[in-house]
Amino acid sequence: MATFVKFTLNGVECLAEDGTQLVEAAAENGVFIPTLCNYPGIPPKGSCRICTVLVNGIPVTACTTRVVEDMKVQTSTPELESFRKSVVEILFAEGNHLCPSCEKSGSCELQALAYRYRMTVPHFPYLFPKRDVEAWHPKILKDHNRCILCKRCIRGIHNKDGKALFAFGKRGDRLVINIDPETSRDVSDELVQKAMAMCPVGAILKKEKGFDVPIGSRKYDVAPIGSEVEG
């Protein structure tokens, strides 16, 4: 039997199943908390920080926080909104994101959030990093220019033996995601498709297939990010 707990969301009393992830509990109650590294069904990591909310006045990441009785949650304050916009802008300035030529344009979560936060030009200095496009894999194209290092693919993509296909390499601003040559050897088309869909940006692409859905009729071209929750 599921137990439900009462908690306050932006001053409104709400109900959620005890222990539900805060991002989900908020969504069930019609409140959208933006995420980039979080993905339904895979263990959260709290690394993009964009889902930061105030729980009893203290900033925490909503993806790594579970709802408990009497929790007081504030998902939106001017400071939190400004922080979220900054995270988006930082990511644009940190990598090399050229939306018009990207396969994911229109279904990219980073781009969609940039629209949501009305980003015009990043207020952070562009780093213009020299990054590779990795094309040795027969089925996967990895464009490191676009990678936001959210770790979704590391946490969410495993082969039949339960082994990871992706892992981090190095650290800090040299951080990179590597593809394992052995565990990814016999990767199915479905799994590559899943990895591509899971990637919030256009860093993981399935080879020999592209622009299936024309730009203009893609997910966030049709309805802005968050509208699925906010209506």
Binding site: P44, K45, G46, S47, C48, R49, I50, T52, P59, T61, T64, F83, S86, V87, I90, L91, A93, E94, F124, P125, L127, I148, L149, K151, K163, A164, L165, F166, A167, F168, G169, K170, R171, G172, D173, R174, L175, N178, I179, D180, P181, E182, T183
Partner: protein, 596 residues
Amino acid sequence: MGNTITDVIKQYGGDETRLMDILIDIQAAQGYLSDSAITQIARALGIPQVDVEQTVSFYHFFAREPRGKYAIYLNDSVVAEFNDRAGVAKALEEAAGCSFGQVSPDGLIGLFPTACIGMSDQEPAALINEVVFPRMTPAKARALVAGLKAGQAVADLAGTDFGEGQNAHPLIRSTVRNNIRLRGDMVFDRYEPGAALRRAVSMSSREIIAMVKAASVRGRGGAGFPTGMKWEFARKAPGDVKYIFCNADEGEPGTFKDRVILTELPGLVFEGMAVAGYAVGARHGILYIRNEYRYLRPYLESVLTGMREQNLLGAYIAGKAGFNFDIKIQFGAGAYVCGEESALIESAEGKRGEPRDRPPFPVEKGYLQKPTVVNNVETLCSVVQVLVKGVDWYNSLGTPESKGTKVLSVSGDCDKPGIYEIAWGFSVNDILKMVGARDVQAVQVGGPSGACIAPAEFSRTLAYEDLATGGSLIIIGAHRDLLKDVVLNFARFFREESCGSCVPCRALTVMAQRVMEQIVAGKGTPTDLARFVEWASIMKKNRCGLGQTALNPIITTLRNFKPLYDRRIAVGDDRFMPTFDLAAAVRDYDEAVKGP
């Protein structure tokens, strides 16, 4: 030959959580971790190669390419720079015939920079194949390289001018000095091995925790969390298997107290771990110690063996039935962030040192998901003395909110750098007088993650309620270029040491370093200064202490030394970018129209 890898892995039971040990041993045998070594390790452990690579490439002492028969790691910390690190580096490059980041053509010598190696009272210092070379000079550097080229052993080249105390122990034989300038009433007071454990076994675990709480012992790593409370959480956490970690990863530039404590009083630290084990109900202790201190390994192992023989570790400790506790040593491989307790645990599990999300806290789910206590070296020493000398004695030292003593690591511009054990509550001025510091421009309290304070604040006291600190004080003389020599160095340090997981930390440490470089070059703008303040508030939302404090060197100097910034800010119209170099931007065009 090829069997080395198999043998090493067998030695660790094919256990992937021992990956750090496996990699350290294989690198020691083969000099570096080749592609084929990575593949073999992955196969033998049954994990993806990228997972092995993930751990290897995180730590800067792990080498994926040969780094020379003798890899010379020269410390590039602020204090090393104060003491002519540049001259030593130049001498090494000339003598070795290669630049930093390279290996000499004959493969003999490699030159690499490294972050603070815990020798700030005797800089510049270098590490060569686990041997420490403190107090380097350009002349010594040339002699050293000549000796290596002539085939002399590294240990012989270090000489026999051994440091005081146990540094001369046959199992250490190091020229590193302790420089203990002031022995306090706690850590460096008399210590009778086993007294605390004998006292402990006459009490219940609850009574011990109550005693530690009554003495209000707080963590000495800097954060000051109440130790008794931490132990109680772990004791009450469900589960039979629990762990006690001693955090000896001290990587905060300017800190070296744990090195000295572990050189002189490892038994005290281990006894503290055993007491913690008894109080929490843990049978396993792990000393996580930074790779830079690997020269202490044979000695520390021998101390553990001695304690087992004296029944202070092992089974039936101090004659108490059911009290079983033993300690193993876990080395790191070069990553400052591993001083953060959850990153330390990840590292001990063989992974990259990426801090964990909390909750759960380590006391609930720590090492191998079991309840785990992580205590600082000095904290464990305090507990032993509380048991032996009592709560009242402990509470008679220090200030209302900071009881006991603090071991300070003092370095920089002063006559007597070294170790000072003081009762909490000393003012910065008291300390400056004691260490022989004159013409002081600034004091970096608590390392780069702490605060850089100006003379106006030297009357402040070291205590959790005023200037909380893990104990490092770097004294910066009036003749130093604070922004260039100190702040920029620290900015580089944090960029280098960020694990890269949190977006703000990964990117803003790079951006802050670049902007700081521009300011030092006289190309900053007033907007840049405003940016720093905004960025610092963004950084507060990072997951761990490193990320939250990484801009402190800039923010605290901006607060306390604003005129130094103003003096370097390009005057003029803020709408123009002083970084824009018109000549450079049109150089290609100029060359093209000029012709050959």
